[in-house]
């Protein structure tokens, strides 16, 4: 970063009315919730004021949040940002205690932890045609990826999938940064019925040129994509979502097996070659605390407002 930019960044964070802040850049300030809204059932969009992170974030990177002082540290991929406003937006699914807590936040609340940007940024290049596939929270996470690929001069085909039409969102936003939109729903309420692998298969089998596939979503969705594209030998990048704690390479909770090597998803990733990932290890490690999740949910629903 250039000198002026660093100065500007320091200025935005500082509150000139406070002497100390004015003389000490990078003052820490708790991340405040600007907005929290339900996009579709179970999927929430959280927008947070975090100017330092917003200045730096790049497509593919993630942040780590903790809803309150009792909370877990969990990683969330980033769905959008506004460098001028200093905000970061994340889409997440409410599945357990931590995400339920996040989903209960209201504008004006502060987060106990909000740290980033973490992980390597997605490799961006001019590959010609890129298929961007998103499912679940990954539809949101795919948006900045598709946008960046488009800006880099690629033909972008966006593919979004869900169980039903009412679980899809941001079609308009994605359309604006895509050359083509493909939609798949399990029930056929919108786009093609019976899931997306068949779309991908048809596309690749038809001989259409796809130089690279990028997939973000639940582990199973990314696994299915890996299986499909493997047969056609199309390079496929997935954004892995293992359990993490610090997000800086300190604990090793997020280790994944990639091409017979152990990698830390937080610092070596989160993006990896889908055809090299050991999916059994990833799926198994993601489920390590499912039993605890029940205990935690029982408690947090009974003492919700502690």
């Amino acid at each position: 970063m250039q000198k002026e930019e660093a100065k500007k960044m320091a200025e935005t964070i500082n509150d000139a009315s406070e002497d100390w802040c004015a003389s000490a850049p990078f003052e820490s300030r708790p991340a405040r919730v600007v907005r929290r809204e339900s996009l579709v059932p179970n999927l929430e969009l959280l927008t947070v004021q975090a100017p330092t992170v917003a200045q730096k974030i790049r497509p593919g990177q993630f942040i780590v949040v903790r809803a309150d002082e009792y909370g877990e540290r969990i990683p969330l991929t980033v769905a959008d940002w506004d460098r001028r406003e200093g905000t970061i937006s994340c889409v997440f699914m409410q599945v357990g205690t931590s995400t339920y807590k996040l989903g209960n936040l209201q504008a004006g609340d502060t987060l106990a932890t909000f740290v980033g940007p973490l992980g390597k940024a997605l490799e961006l290049d001019q590959w010609d045609t890129v298929l961007c596939a998103g499912g679940c929270y990954g539809i949101g996470s795919m948006f900045p990826v598709a946008r960046a690929l488009k800006e880099t001069g690629n033909q972008v085909i966006s593919l979004i999938e869900g169980r039903s039409k009412f679980l899809l969102y941001w079609l308009d936003r994605l359309e604006a940064v895509s050359d083509r939109m493909l939609i798949a729903t399990h029930d056929g309420s919108l786009g093609k019925k019976d899931g997306y692998p068949s779309i991908v298969e048809e596309l690749l089998a038809s001989g259409e040129r796809i130089d690279r596939v990028i997939a973000v979503g639940c582990t199973f969705m990314m696994y299915e994509m890996a299986q499909t594209t493997r047969r056609f030998g199309v390079k496929t990048i997935v954004s892995l979502n293992p359990i993490m704690i610090d997000g800086t390479g300190m604990c090793g909770a997020c280790r994944v097996s990639v091409g017979d090597e152990t990698k830390f998803a937080c610092v070596d990733g989160p993006d990896f070659d889908a055809h090299q990932v050991d999916w059994d290890v990833l799926l198994s490690r993601r489920k390590a605390y499912l039993g605890n999740e029940t205990d935690s949910a029982e408690r947090s629903t009974s003492v919700w407002k502690r």
Partner: protein, 467 residues
């Protein structure tokens, strides 16, 4: 000085009985009473050439400190200690005194040395009981800004020394709580977190600004810090855990010590589900390694409900690098030592969870570079240990994030930042480093000693502008 009667043994320090303490995370020793402290301090011979001072990495005037305690002047004693050591309540608990000050105590040749560590702990706790700490008068501001990266032992020490010189200090921490290894690594029963928080609060009260949730390397790079700060101190520790690189290591139930202890300590998983972070509470926990971190893990496992806690170490008891006190406490609590073993694989019960650890038996060969006898596996001696949680505590090295994002910062073979030992200067103008990030994994007090050297050199650099 008149000849005085030598008392051969240390005043014992009362502690929680082992049978009780394995069911809680409360601190093990209770500390001295004032009477016990005075009696212990009176054992000091007040040597003219005091070996203890030479043995202290932060050069505390120990004979004078002991004389003040013996006189009952606890205020004078703590003020003296704090001149050189910003974290006395911490070092009084976790320093390996038996290798440092107490090893050089004149008494130690024939008797037990003076319990310098316990007395340091005593005066620090005494001060805490008196209410808010006294803030020393600080010199006028120099107008220089310093960034301290990392808030562990090295960062806290550097920050304290620099702010006392009148510099404006901002301390950056990647996690949500300051203290580094003192809060994520060392367990509550060995170092209560309230004590760390008190020490951090003291340093902030001196005027140091703490910025948490800020990862130098990504949130801002060192070069970006240098745009707004006149000098940078890197005290980021050794946060990258080592693994064994053997089959089955990614099974569920296999933890790095960093993860296991971070869950238990920083995230308070021992209070799950009151706190949201879970931890696997194994019935038979095997910890691999023979250092203090391994002891901390094995003892934490008992408190998390393990029926059996095993240490698996590749050499023999004599070669174990942990403190004598730690192993003593561990054995007292029922931790079982399994020596001369090399793990070669982890096996699952077919469900993705670890069930057994396969080991080879070792014999001791010739001494290696560390001077300790090298473990040599006996081929064909494979056998299996049943276990449901494994903790790998075989060491760690510096996190590569800062070196990777800082052009011009030279690193050594193990990823440590190369420094000039006289000044702790790195290869990059304006950047200093100290603690585990420079040494690659040592003790709290050595990190503090290096931070003090760095702070002195930084002040000189800030004053003269000479690199």
């Amino acid at each position: 000085m008149a000849k005085k009667k030598i008392i051969p043994a240390k005043m014992p320090m009362p502690e929680q009985p082992a049978a009780e303490r394995i069911y809680n995370f409360d601190e093990v020793p209770y500390g001295y009473t004032p009477e016990q402290a005075v009696a212990e301090a009176e054992r000091c011979l007040q040597c003219k050439r005091a070996g203890c001072v030479e043995g202290c990495p932060v050069c505390i005037d120990i004979p004078r400190f002991l004389a003040l305690v013996a006189e009952g002047d606890f205020r004078g004693a703590i003020d003296l200690v704090k001149e050189n050591n910003a974290l006395p309540a911490v070092t009084g608990r976790v320093c390996p005194q038996e290798e440092q000050c107490e090893a050089s105590c004149a008494l130690s040749k024939r008797f037990e040395p003076v319990a310098i560590g316990r007395l340091e702990r005593f005066v620090a706790d005494w001060e805490a009981a008196q209410g808010p700490p006294r803030i020393p008068k600080l010199p006028p501001p120099t107008g220089k800004r310093v960034a301290v990266v990392g808030s562990g032992p090295a960062g806290l020490t550097a920050a304290a020394d620099l702010v006392k010189e009148g510099h404006q200090v901002t301390m950056f921490e990647a996690l949500h709580e300051a203290g580094g290894v003192l809060v994520y690594g060392i367990p509550e029963f060995r170092l209560p977190k309230a004590i760390v928080r008190r020490e951090v609060d003291y340093i902030c009260a001196l005027g140091v600004k703490l910025v948490k949730d800020f990862v130098v390397g990504t949130t801002a790079t060192v070069d970006e810090l240098l745009e707004v700060y006149d000098a940078v101190f890197l005290g980021t520790g050794a946060g990258l855990p080592w693994f064994l690189n053997i089959p089955g290591e990614n099974l569920n139930g296999v933890y790095s010590a960093n993860e296991y202890l971070t869950r238990a300590n920083l995230m308070k998983a021992y209070r799950f589900p009151e706190y949201d972070t879970p931890i696997v509470r194994g019935r038979r926990v095997a910890t691999i390694g023979g250092g203090n971190v391994a002891m901390d893990s094995a003892r934490s496992a008992l408190r998390l409900g393990a029926k059996e806690s095993l240490i698996v170490y590749r050499r023999s008891r004599e070669e174990m690098p942990c403190r004598e006190e730690e192993i003593h406490h561990a054995i007292e609590e029922g931790v079982q030592l399994n020596l001369l073993l090399t793990p070669v694989a982890f096996h699952s019960g077919g469900n993705g969870w670890v069930k057994e650890m396969e080991c080879l038996r070792n014999e001791l060969g010739e001494p290696d570079a560390s001077g300790r006898r090298r473990p040599v596996p006996i081929s064909g001696s494979n056998f299996r240990i049943s276990t449901d949680v494994v903790v790998i505590a075989i060491g760690q090295s510096p996190n590569p994030m800062i070196p990777n994002t800082t052009p011009g910062l030279e690193t050594g073979r193990r990823g440590n930042i190369v420094v000039d030992e006289e000044t702790m200067k790195t290869s990059k103008h304006g950047v200093f480093a100290g603690g585990d990030v420079a040494t690659g994994g040592a003790t709290v007090i050595l990190a503090m000693g290096q931070a003090k050297i760095a702070a002195r050199a930084m002040s000189e650099f800030l004053e003269t502008g000479q690199w």
